[in-house]
């Protein structure tokens, strides 16, 4: 049986991909970002993860507003990394496991998540920007990817709670897959940033820290927020953090944080966090139980 061994939240800023491709890993302005991913990459290697399920959004690369799906899952043996106007990146094609992708699609639809299926479409930076920081890619990627695209661009977006429940349904899908596979769920985007209008450049580190704390200890509180709350607290484009709720929804009630890195250089609070299932060291939930008892 397949099982989820952990989850990762990561920013997907396109500049990460650009800096990576330019070899800026040791550049003083970028080193704190790249170094922050090393423990996560090491963990993935040690844990022998076979599959990354990536919750990401397509930034109008392969999908456009004339037919823009709320939830879409990619099915294919391989996916090109998209040319978004600046040329092709020196990365191998992303690999897929069609049988697993099809099983997840079937399970989600039968679980009342009516997914759009996309095939033979390039994958944009929402997924491809953090991927090489997580997994080595020479000569090739060490495993397969299940891309799941969520509409975070054109309102109405799926609600935070709906994303959370999608994550729960994903867990049921994975745990009903007969083959032994070690799966890691990745939520991409965020944290605080706004990149349009006069409010561009807005950040809120205090809120980012609170979000990370709630994500770990009391994620259901985040599912009760409205999109407008995310826009106000973290900047307009930070509403994409609902994709982290899909990721967290796929985990058990308690998680243990193994690593976190937060680097706010210019406009986006670039963050990576790694959780595995298990009791947290200081759970809010446990404290509440004590009060109730």
């Amino acid at each position: 049986m397949a099982k989820i061994i952990g989850c990762i939240g990561t920013s997907h800023v396109p500049t990460i991909g650009v800096a990576y491709d330019k070899g800026k890993q040791q550049d003083p302005a970028w080193k704190p970002l790249f170094d922050g991913y090393l423990p996560v990459a090491k963990w993935l290697e040690e844990q022998k993860a076979d599959v990354l399920v990536m919750f990401y959004n397509d930034h109008c690369t392969s999908l456009f507003f004339d037919l823009y799906p709320t939830f879409a899952i990619g099915v294919g043996k391989e996916f090109q990394v998209a040319d978004e106007g600046a040329g092709l990146r020196d990365l191998p094609t992303i690999k897929g496991n069609v049988d697993l992708q099809a099983h997840i699609a079937e399970s989600l639809v039968n679980d009342e998540f009516d997914m759009t299926i996309f095939q033979d479409k390039p994958i944009d930076h929402g997924c491809a920007s953090p991927l090489p920081l997580l997994w080595p890619h020479k000569p090739d990627w060490p495993g397969t990817v299940v891309p799941i695209a969520i509409n975070v661009l054109q309102f109405p977006l799926p609600t935070p709670r709906r994303c959370w429940r999608l994550g729960q349904a994903l867990r049921r899908a994975i745990e009903s897959y007969p083959q032994d596979l070690r799966v890691v769920v990745v939520g991409t985007g965020g944290l605080s940033h706004q990149v349009h209008g006069e409010r561009t450049g807005f950040n809120n580190e205090e809120w980012d820290m609170k979000f990370l704390d709630l994500l770990e200890h009391d994620p259901e509180q985040l599912t009760r927020m409205k999109h407008a709350d995310f826009v106000r607290l973290g900047g307009a484009e930070s509403v994409e953090q609902i994709m982290w709720l899909a990721m967290r929804g796929a985990m058990g009630p308690t998680v243990r944080k193994l690593h976190q890195n937060y680097y706010l250089a210019t406009t986006t609070a670039m963050t990576v966090v790694l959780f595995e299932d298990g009791a947290a060291t200081e759970t809010v939930g446990a404290a509440k139980d004590e009060v109730a008892a």
Partner: protein, 119 residues
């Protein structure tokens, strides 16, 4: 009104991209979206007026494009994530576009950032 967006109109300098806006600006946004294809970029460089007409842009939209009025385009209803594809064609970086959104020079804007050298 989408209840998920209640109160969002009180947030300054923020332009929510919803279906109504998207429907009104679909041709403009498609025009920008197509910039990810080299043939489209080449045609834009050789005859921008012809391409804008072919894409169905109205006169106001054409003028915003001609002037590279980045903030005006956002206020009109362009989506940032297709607009940035046009910024690449216009040899303007996102950080430069951000400065323009804020009404600042590039150097002024970078001084407001924690790591001004991260480019």
């Amino acid at each position: 009104m989408n209840p998920q967006l209640a109160g969002v109109e009180d947030i300054p300098g923020t332009y929510i991209f919803d279906i109504r806006t998207s429907n009104r600006t679909l041709k403009l946004n498609r025009f920008f979206w197509q910039m990810i294809g080299k043939p489209w970029r080449d045609r834009f460089e050789s005859d921008p007026e012809q391409l804008m007409t072919e894409a169905g842009l109205n006169e106001r939209e054409k003028e915003l494009v001609r002037k590279r009025d980045w903030l005006g385009l956002i206020q009109y209803g362009a989506n940032f994530f297709v607009l940035e594809k046009f910024a690449r064609v216009s040899k303007t970086t996102n950080l430069e576009v951000y400065a323009i959104f804020r009404g600042e020079s590039f150097e002024e804007f970078m001084k407001t950032r924690r790591v001004p050298d991260a480019r």
